[in-house]
Symmetry: C2
Subunit: 124 residues, 2 copies
DNA sequence: CTGTATCCACGCTGATACTG
DNA sequence: CAGTATCAGCGTGGATACAG
């Protein structure tokens, strides 16, 4: 019964695990970019936009550790490193797309609900 | 083009908006619980488990502000407050379920990928 | 019962500088 | 090119106490 309910700290709760991963600021953007095909570190950096190399590395490492992204280093000079979604990584795009689709459909309403709320209560 | 790509700080990016909301620790649990039907504050508290009243209130207020949850106060003694998903709130359950379903299917693999990774690299 | 008010510690994140 | 190292700031969330 560890789905939309359950202890949020339970490391065995699958939903919490994935939520913790996609809840950060860059993971979804990186997965979305890699969905178009493999990309190099610098390509990802400019495609995502505004991400520091530290954060990009950190995001990529987490994804790699989870088996969602494949990291390939080519022994060249200058160094070339390519990242690609694994098969599992690919499957994650679907629920993410569902979320994106929902967002595009309803967030405008959410935003206007916020305005209305802020108008009737104190806007800070 | 503000979907799985785009500026993560853009307040107009729908995906970012929803990700910011469900990325926290309690929102998904609360929505999941309310999916079974309306519930009172104390019912939510025990159903979710481990949440402080501060955090539960904060989560509920955010959901209410976004028009996803309806808050109804009954002028009784002792006070009774009931929370329920709005129509829009209900629609959000679908993409959340998709995510949950994905999680249940693939997180076991993710977890073993982590173990494998930690074995080959330094485990802390 | 249903919250509100404080205080505080932790972790995430960005900026900056440096390296193979 | 593709990172790593270090540091500092800020927000998020928990504990606790109190209130309508």
């Amino acid at each position: 019964m560890s789905g939309l309910e359950g202890n949020p700290y339970d490391p065995n709760c699958p939903t919490r695990t994935i939520l913790d991963r996609i809840g950060d600021r860059w993971t979804v953007l990186v997965v979305g970019t890699l969905g178009h095909g493999p990309a190099r570190f610098s390509q990802l950096a400019s495609a995502v936009g505004g991400v520091s190399s530290k954060m990009l590395t950190q995001t990529l490492r987490a994804l790699e550790r989870d088996g969602l992204v494949q990291r390939t280093v080519y022994a060249e000079v200058p160094p070339r490193v390519e990242y690609a979604l694994t098969d599992i990584g690919q499957t994650m795009r679907e629920p993410l797309s569902a979320l994106e689709h929902w967002a595009k459909s309803y967030v405008p309403e959410v935003l206007s609900a916020r305005e209305a709320y802020d108008t009737h209560h104190g806007v800070k």
